[in-house]
Subunit: 77 residues, 2 copies
Amino acid sequence: MNLEQTFGDLLKTLRQRHNISQEKLAEKCDLHRTYISLLERGLRQPTLSTIFKIASAIDSSPSELLTELEVLLKKYQ
Amino acid sequence: MNLEQTFGDLLKTLRQRHNISQEKLAEKCDLHRTYISLLERGLRQPTLSTIFKIASAIDSSPSELLTELEVLLKKYQ
């Protein structure tokens, strides 16, 4: 699992935990659904502003999001 | 101050705190010096992997870097 794939897994997990579709998440983030799909599949990596948008959409903070990502990366090592 | 500019300010502050040049930071991150310069001037925003590289180069963690960024963003609001 590389960084992009791990972020994608986390994003999918968090989205499903919030019980929202890719479409709904995209709308809340002001991003395209296709981009959310690419992120979840680890085919794109988010920019700083995307990290902020996603964190806000799932009622988290950017630093909390990266803390969860760091935990997952250690687990997958 | 927008997100990119605030990140740029933080990056410059952290780099200077570590007493390293843009060249040295770029080398440690395996990035181009020009890109570091663009980031510091808020003309580019980092991707997830750049955030990880920079955090590692300054002996921090990605989540700690974003925590510092969140503090600065609140201060500049």
